[in-house]
């Protein structure tokens, strides 16, 4: 596989991030703080893929589990695979969001925001629905970015070695 420099770095960052995130969401009971210090919950649930190897030896395993048990993906981590796609659920009282993130380019799919009222609105502004939706989408991206920024800070610091050992111990424990 011929990758340009930043494509290679993006896959490294994306997979390290999503794998780290899985551990962190469990270790902290899913509790994170947004940029204003407000608590929110983040869970990785239902759908997740792990990937390992490269070139023709690329192996992946996707798990879909409505109950949230991702045991088979966990065992993939033990053989050196990393998370390459994950469904994330954000909850910040009283609202919740859901989206699926891909490792290599951070493209987002299945992004669901809290519902916006579409009928019987008395807004004078015809753009109100679009603006409300955009506000909700951007809120979700902000929460996501705050978690990614936290990851980057650790990933680029001397603490990463220690963090790696913690994640490795969690993976080994199964």
């Amino acid at each position: 596989m011929d990758l340009t420099l930043t494509e290679r770095e993006s896959i490294i960052l994306g997979q390290d991030f999503l794998t780290w995130l899985w551990h962190v969401t469990e270790a902290r009971g899913g509790v994170f703080k947004d940029k204003d210090g407000r608590e929110f919950h983040l869970r990785m649930e239902e759908r997740l893929s792990v990937q390992g190897g490269d070139g023709e030896g690329l192996e992946s395993a996707s798990v879909k589990s409505p109950s949230g048990e991702l045991t088979e993906a966990r065992s993939g981590l033990r053989t050196g695979k990393k998370v390459n796609r994950a469904q994330l659920r954000f909850d910040r009282d009283p609202e919740s969001w859901q989206m699926t993130v891909k490792d290599s380019d951070f493209s987002l799919s299945g992004l669901k925001t809290p519902k916006i009222e579409t009928k019987d609105r008395e807004d004078d502004d015809p753009d109100a629905r679009v603006l409300e939706k955009l506000y909700l989408v951007e809120q979700c991206l902000e929460l996501y970015d705050s978690v990614y920024q936290e990851f980057l800070t650790v990933r680029l610091s001397a603490k990463w070695a220690e963090e790696t050992r913690t994640v490795a111990a969690w993976i080994a424990k199964g």
């Binding site: 420099l5 930043t6 494509e7 770095e9 993006s10 896959i11 490294i12 960052l13 994306g14 997979q15 390290d16 991030f17 794998t19 981590l77 033990r78 053989t79 050196g80 990393k82 891909k102 490792d103 290599s104 380019d105 951070f106 493209s107 987002l108 799919s109 299945g110 992004l111 669901k112 925001t113 916006i116 579409t118 015809p126 753009d127 629905r129 679009v130 603006l131 939706k133 955009l134 989408v137 951007e138 991206l141 970015d145 990614y148 920024q149 980057l152 990933r155 680029l156 990463w160 790696t164 994640v167 490795a168 993976i171 080994a172």
Partner: protein, 212 residues
């Protein structure tokens, strides 16, 4: 180009596919005022009455038939909202093959009547091209619409698709229209945007972590 699977992706959809971008260059303040005109200058042009295979350009986010922004302006709050419309005429290969067979059979019969035993390669190509044009004239373009939202405060752009062909078309048409380049916010680009150029060398020299 094959028709895109995800057509009509509205920002109001319950389930959204999104690609995030930053604008590489500094956005001149004067540009925001020019956005409506630049959108109109690069608006979608209808091909229903032609035999063109495809056409693309901007249209009103509120109405894909509105290429003059007569129904509503692109400015909504602090966002510039517009859509990329792409119409494609696609002739199913089996239909094309059948009509080529019909045309070539006719041509061969005529050639034989004139005492010729075969149809030249060039003539075959010509016949195929004519068949394609005839079929296109009879088929209606299939429209696809992808919403785009440009935040004038952050300069960031959201494009409602993750389809690589739609993304490339969007990126190119955006550059053509506004003279600005879009960079998808991949893990690397988003990291660089968050941490600043000072972090570039650290981000560029990463090795994958082994967690086992």
């Amino acid at each position: 180009m094959k028709p895109l699977k995800e057509a009509d992706v509205s920002i109001l959809s319950t389930s959204l596919g999104i690609t995030r971008y930053r604008v590489v260059e500094e956005i001149p303040d004067s540009l925001w005022r020019e956005v409506p005109k630049r959108l109109a200058d690069n608006a979608f042009r209808d091909i229903d009455a032609t035999t063109d295979e495809r056409s693309w350009g901007w249209c009103n986010l509120d109405n894909m038939l509105d290429m003059d922004w007569a129904e509503s302006p692109p400015e909504k709050g602090h966002y510039m909202c517009f859509s990329l419309r792409l119409d494609t005429r696609r002739i199913p290969p089996a239909v094309f093959k059948k009509h080529c067979m019909i045309a070539l059979t006719q041509e061969l019969a005529q050639a034989k009547a004139e005492g010729k035993a075969f149809i030249s390669k060039d003539r075959r190509r010509e016949i195929k091209d004519q068949v394609m044009l005839r079929l296109r004239a009879r088929s209606l373009p299939v429209p696809a619409v992808f919403d785009a939202v440009w935040n004038t405060q952050t300069g960031r752009v959201l494009f409602c698709s993750t389809n690589s062909k739609a993304k490339t078309l969007f990126e190119d048409h955006f550059t053509l229209s506004f003279g600005l380049e879009l960079e998808p916010l991949t893990p690397f680009a988003l990291g660089l945007d968050m941490l600043g150029e000072a972090a570039a060398s650290r981000l560029e020299n990463l090795e994958p972590t082994s967690f086992t």
